[in-house]
Point group: C3
């Protein structure tokens, strides 16, 4: 059910973008109890200037390899699960050649009734 | 006030995308009490690989005709209204040639104060 | 921490889009207590038809110079702060040549734990 939007600059190759998607999916499987096959992602490579970022906010060094990961998912994960998710995404992203310092993540939460996976049904809600 | 983001793959034609927007607007008018003229949508056709999805999650068959509809709207709609909304979107999308199994919908809620429709005013809040 | 998505039509030039980003950042600095350097934005110029809007909803006149500003930020700002934010964005956007009537803004809120600014850490949460 998480929907992930992943936004990158031209500095990140097409292939790396797909690997990033894999990293996000696998990290969610491992840390926040996402079921197998729950893979829904929108991946966008923007043009130059399409993403703006501060290169040093909070003491983290960033460059044009920045990756913005915006997750929408149902409420209920604990702070510890979210911390584990961030750590694991960054570890797996590193395997794809994306530096930990370049990975920004934000989570927005909703409820089970707020999802339809096709056929006009709210499959997750009782 | 709902803002709808609709994301599709190249398999969905430009014209169909507009018809999908119409379907979403009309379904909201009919099921969740959206006022006339409250039509605000961002429509994006991505390149190949720009949307990733599982072809069978929750037993629904999907293909490259998938349509992701992300709605942001004020809190307050009941579960029954949301179910009616999903059903109606899918019915009207079918008229545009989009299969019910290919329509994914997610809702994110905020409050009336979280909207400005121009002029720097929060028109919906008291 | 706010992540701003700014979406425009071809009627808005590249340079104006960057100036709009500056306006949003500066307005947030002045009205809702955003720290220096907290500048994270995704700017997208869509093709013709990529943004749909009602030209007169709520009595505000809009045209293809419309600008959709979607802000994700931690909960906690008061209604008065949000009103001040909207007013200030619109004032500064006007300096960039964007008419007040064409600026639409929506806010979605989350919590401090919902942000990672790199290195896999949740820098804002205790």
């Amino acid at each position: 059910m998480p929907l992930a939007r992943i936004d990158v600059l031209p500095g990140t190759e097409e292939k790396t973008l797909t690997q990033l998607g894999d990293a996000v999916y696998r990290a969610m499987r491992e840390t926040i109890d996402v079921p197998e096959g729950d893979l829904f992602q929108i991946l966008t490579r923007h043009g130059e200037g399409g993403i703006r970022y501060d290169p040093a906010f909070l003491g983290v060094r960033r460059d044009d390899g920045v990756v913005f990961i915006s997750l929408t998912m149902r409420a209920g994960r604990t702070p510890e699960q979210k911390r584990a998710l961030y750590r694991r995404i960054v570890e797996l992203a590193a395997d794809a050649g994306v530096a930990a310092r370049n990975v920004l993540i934000t989570i927005t939460e909703n409820e089970l009734i707020d999802w339809s996976f096709g056929e006009g049904e709210a499959q997750l809600a009782r």
